[in-house]
């Protein structure tokens, strides 16, 4: 782990179709010293926002309405192979884990976990090699 990167103010982008979850994540990540550069509610918006903001980490809900967050992860990585996408999901079953591992996403965080687990996952991912 680098000596300087982990404590830098991280730019994080959120994609979740659930308005309260988007707002809640924004509030909680800001309290952890992260900068939320934008929040999108679907894959199309998410891809546009990523292209405009190029954040350090993208947190994507696994279920984006009719779409899978992993498909968005693939699109983002196609646009920017160095992109760091974290999939955020409820209790993940084996199918979810498999989809995430096959996708361009670099990690999986549980919605039911402590918020600190999510911030740790974001910071770890941000400090990993691009």
């Amino acid at each position: 782990m680098s000596a300087t990167a982990p404590q830098a103010c991280l730019n994080v982008m959120l994609v979740d179709d659930h308005p309260a979850i988007r707002t809640g994540l924004e509030v909680l990540l800001q309290t952890q010293g992260m900068r939320v550069v934008g929040a999108a509610e679907n894959a199309e918006q998410g891809l546009r926002l990523y292209d405009a903001e190029r954040p350090d980490v993208v947190v994507v809900d696994f279920n984006l309405g009719q779409e899978y967050g992993t498909d968005l992860a693939d699109s983002i990585v196609e646009l920017d192979p160095g992109a760091k996408v974290l999939v955020y999901t409820g209790a993940p079953d084996s199918e979810t884990r498999e989809r995430v591992s096959r996708s361009g996403a670099r990690g999986l965080a549980h919605k039911s976990g402590d918020v600190c687990d999510l911030t740790l996952a974001i910071r770890t991912l941000a400090s990993s090699p691009g």
Partner: protein
């Protein structure tokens, strides 16, 4: 706006991210004051009874005490605080049961912030709020009661989960089968136990079979 003219609100949801989002949504409007936030039903019940807010916004599927049970207990204690119940999906719990228990409103967690804010304000004015997109689910629930008193005891999802339990599936296997989280399945089972007035899985299956609630 003076402090006394603000609408005091108690918020309870076991999901910290959702709870934070909801509180932030309410904080965007100066007329609301969130006086307490809780993460389980029993704590919510005590806070509402003590603080007597203008409105309580409760997740329907909280640990320790479900939202509907909090509403029932408030009635028993003669605490008249309007309660807005939040639900993950229209078909997962009985709207009829929620309203019969005394809830003043019911709204999907996925509702737009403005709709949730409007609902809280409406309850503070003494109105009942039930979003239009949930009317069909309520009508179906009422019809089910007309056609058979037994079937309507359990919500559709509870009946489905109990049916799979009767087939021998574990809670984890049911979660996988229905593409739902394990906590959601456990919540459905707990709700089914409460409604059937039993304390374990085997008794719930036996009673549900006897009443013809599952095949």
């Amino acid at each position: 706006m003076t402090a006394s003219s603000r609408i005091s609100v108690v918020v309870a949801d076991d999901h910290p991210v959702y709870r934070a989002g909801l509180i932030r949504m309410l904080a965007t409007r100066p007329e609301f004051e969130v006086v307490a936030e809780l993460e389980d039903g029993r704590a919510a019940l005590e806070a509402i009874a003590r603080l007597r807010p203008d409105v309580a916004v409760l997740d329907i599927g909280m640990p320790r005490m479900a939202g509907i049970e909090v509403v029932r207990s408030l009635r028993t204690r003669d605490v008249h605080v309007p309660v807005l119940l939040l639900t993950g999906s229209a078909g997962s719990h009985s709207l009829y049961d929620a309203l019969a228990a005394g809830a003043a409103g019911y709204i999907l967690k996925t509702a737009q912030p403005q709709d949730i804010i409007d609902a809280v304000a409406a309850l503070a004015r003494g109105e009942v709020r039930l979003p239009e997109d949930m009317h069909a689910a309520l009508a179906a629930d009422i019809r089910a009661r007309e056609h058979g008193p037994g079937r309507s005891v359990l919500a559709d999802r509870e009946r489905e989960v109990l049916g799979l339990t009767a087939d021998g599936l574990s809670a984890a296997e049911i979660a996988q089968h229905l593409h739902l989280g394990l906590p959601t399945i456990r919540s459905h089972l707990q709700n089914a136990y409460q409604k059937l007035e039993v304390s374990d899985r085997a008794a719930a299956v036996a009673k549900a079979l006897r009443l013809g609630l599952i095949d």
